[in-house]
Amino acid sequence: MKKENEKMSKGQMFIILALVIAVVLVLIKNSINITTLLENRRFMESGMERLEFDNVKKEIIMSMKISPSQTNSSNNSINMMNFVKSSFSSRSVDFSLLTVEFSYPTVVSGVSTRLNITGVNLLGEDILSMNITFSYDSSTKNLGSIKDTSKFDTYFDFSTTSDQNYTLTVSYSTPSINSTESITIPVVIGKSKFIAFVDMKTVSIRQTLRDKFTETFDLS
């Protein structure tokens, strides 16, 4: 009789064990939060994109510093920006950028100096109109429409007998945006400078990264 009970209880042990395992499975299921794991992974991937974005920004600035001169800094940076766009497009990442670069030769007190302006539209769409206003004499240059991937250039003349901070106001519109940027141009007697304003953006399925920055370099 005792043996029979033992055999019965051995069989029932399977059912009891199954219940225990089922409870453990429920506890495991509740402890695994797939949403949190997915968020963590997304966070890591976004971090990776941020690292690549910062790498691009650093190298664009680096391209301006290599053999700095009015011509080299501008040519190198614009070539680098085109290179970055090609690299991103081959990886199916949408990269857009607008740069406006300014340079002037060594300023001599009281002598007319030319402020050269060069830029490139890599916004992925045409600029319908662009105006640049120079605070020196409030003069404005209208650059009209600028096709996507096109370069543009213009200039202003100024004369000063002391160090000044002038402001260039760049206003532009595309089919999707209207934007106005104010860029400070430090003018120092006896110095030649290169100033670059860059507005860059990447769009991926995870996030949009955008950065606007102005870099100033002494050329002499």
Partner: protein, 141 residues
């Protein structure tokens, strides 16, 4: 009563009696119950996210960044010395196969058959004296 309380002996073999059959039945019920609970709980969870590929990418990128900070990367890249880059990277990126490609705009993918192949791109503009825009691509699998 179908089940009788005695052992059945056929020839020299003893086969299960009633209690043996009950035990098998209970074990089967237990297994079915566990499987049902498992499927009910975990079948709708979707694919479990993989962290391996993104970890490799981060490791690869930081390794390139370290090489760059040590002023080693740029000259290797400009001289198209992928072997030196690979050798240096192997001290940072372990337990994974790597292949390094230096290219301009068009980068050829190495002939690697792996479902786990991931790549990291690192751009350089040149070194302090020479403009030479290149991209370094590390493939890991």
């Amino acid at each position: 009563m179908i089940c009788q309380k005695k052992k059945m002996i056929i020839g020299s073999k003893r086969i299960f009696g009633c209690k043996g059959i009950l035990q098998i039945l209970e074990a089967a019920i237990a297994i079915i119950a566990i499987l049902t609970v498992f499927l009910f709980l975990f079948s709708g969870m979707g694919e479990f996210p993989q962290f391996e590929s993104v970890n490799w990418k981060l490791k690869g990128f930081y390794a390139l960044q370290s090489l760059d900070n040590n002023n080693e990367l740029r000259n290797f890249v400009i001289s198209n010395d992928t072997t030196s880059i690979k050798n240096e990277l192997l001290s940072y990126v372990t337990q994974v196969n790597i292949e390094v490609v230096v290219c301009e705009t068009v980068c050829n993918k190495p002939d690697v058959e792996s479902e786990k192949l991931v790549s990291v791109n690192y751009l350089i503009a040149g070194n302090s004296t020479q403009y030479a825009a290149r991209q370094v691509v590390i493939y890991m699998w």
